[in-house]
Symmetry: C2
Subunit: 309 residues, 2 copies
């Protein structure tokens, strides 16, 4: 290790520095001070090397983008607008300063997409790279998981499953050169490494009755929202089949011998937004009904379960 | 592992739950929502097993208390009042649910001392236990590191060095039963495992020109404040010698063959508050002068350096 903690902090502060009238005290004191509205939204996420990412599978730029995307998606899923991030990182000491800077640039780039500034952090030593990101935002009336009503349309901002497909390709060391659907495979890999989150679609969801992002997958997240709302989430496989991206994802699944509904129903980490309401934008994939739980109706075979822990 | 991520979250939510009118949306949605004042203070800290704590040296209760104490001290060091915490934890899977609950109770107990509520978090898998805590608070005019003025008295809320002494005893496996100063050794161990932070003294520091908490040790933190303020921090060894606790710490140091000024000058993690100003409460240990850097004047031998990274 050819650098000190102080060197790292100086480099990160340079990468994260930018004019921001919301900041009263930035990086460098015991804590940061920001101007806030009456209601502040807060969420925290931790990503651990070997569990949530691997250095041989993703660039540091993508690792940084991905953890921030996951974090910001949680803020957007409340119907809120993110403003600031703090980032705590443990480093093993065998990373080059360039690797660390690229990670920071990935963090910063994803934040910039949403006009979010990194205002503080912590850099420590650890046996693996671990990144904990906490986002702060503002909201008027938050959109909760518990607001779904019987009769609501269920919509998604994109087809979920691409990130799970990318993870499958990496875990099974599939050689993309041999695939007919190598273009779709590239899309899956890219979505796994650093998901493209449809931040820009969320403002149009402001009349949603309930909303969440699909960090844990459609069925798990649907069931959580159903339980919180005291209703049933009935996803309709025929509606999902008609999504313009379904054919691509399905052809990739078939070529590698996987069941596409495992990816769609149980794969997480796409950070697609799942919302319910009437006349919402997004792609309709089902209805809220009386009852409990979540299911994809019309399938011959149930999707596999999925848990990240 | 006889429990799921869901079980852990349910247990933690029960431990952290309490009536709090500042909370609009608590644990269980994509993010928490709290009411805030115009200015929000934010800080984050990460503690890694094997680096910042060891399971064989500290109870989970103390591990939880210590990381929260470090975090809240940063908020207080801004002249601010903490309100809320979010906590991200990686677990290896070989912890019992009781161990995890005791950790959460330690986190909660330290937070309760300051009327702080845990409003959210993340629980993931990792190769070691890693805890990232982010605190939110409110402030009118923050007290910065950069406000020290030539002529200011430098004061501390307690004598620093006890935590470093405790770490020394643990690292060198000193048998307390054989020590004449075993009572002082107990105090050192206790301060290392979960520092008693003088939160209640901080409101009396509201007229301080500059303030920080001693997470990194007196000389390092003094130098940081001196640089930020464009002044010199001159700590006076004669003043420090007259602190009512000095004799105890010194007798322990002498008995174990250590130089007490290494502990006082370079040991961190006591989270003693270091402030400058005129007529402040606390114990005076020096003066702000023209010049640069930080030193303890009147010593025959310089204290060793100390860096946590």
């Amino acid at each position: 290790m050819e650098y000190s903690e102080g060197d790292v902090i100086v480099e990160l502060a340079l990468i994260f520095a930018r004019p921001d009238k919301r900041i009263v005290v930035g990086i460098g004191d015991d804590a940061a001070v920001v101007t806030t509205s009456h209601r502040t939204v807060v969420t925290t996420d931790m990503a651990v090397e070997g569990i949530h990412f691997r250095r041989e599978w993703s660039t540091p730029f993508d690792i940084g983008r991905r953890i921030v995307a996951a974090n910001l998606a949680d803020i957007f899923a409340m119907g809120a607008t993110p403003d600031h991030l703090v980032v705590a990182i443990s480093l093993t000491g065998d990373e080059t300063l360039d690797w660390i800077k690229e990670l920071a640039i990935g963090i910063d780039q994803e934040a910039r997409k949403c006009s979010v500034t990194i205002i503080g952090g912590d850099v420590v030593r650890g046996p693996v790279v671990t990144i904990a990101v906490t986002a702060l935002g503002r909201v008027g009336t938050p959109i909760l998981r518990s607001g779904a009503k019987v009769g609501d349309e269920i919509v998604v901002t994109n087809l979920p499953g691409w990130s799970a497909a990318g993870l499958f390709l990496l875990e099974n060391q599939i050689d993309l050169a041999n695939l007919v659907s190598s273009g779709h495979a590239q899309r899956a890999l890219s979505q796994y490494r650093a998901p493209l989150v449809a931040y820009e679609d969320v403002p149009f969801m402001r009349f949603a009755h309930s909303m969440s992002d699909l960090s844990d997958g459609l069925l798990i997240q649907g069931e959580q929202m159903a339980r919180a709302s005291g209703v049933k989430f009935n996803f309709d496989s025929q509606l999902i089949l008609s999504h313009p991206d379904f054919a691509e994802l399905n052809s990739l699944a078939q070529e590698v011998g996987e069941y596409v509904w495992d990816w769609i129903g149980a794969g997480g980490e796409d950070h697609v937004f799942l919302a319910t309401g009437i006349g919402l934008p997004g792609f309709e994939i089902g209805r809220v009904e009386e009852g409990e739980g979540a299911q994809i109706s019309g399938l011959m075979q149930e999707p596999k379960g999925f848990s990240h822990f």
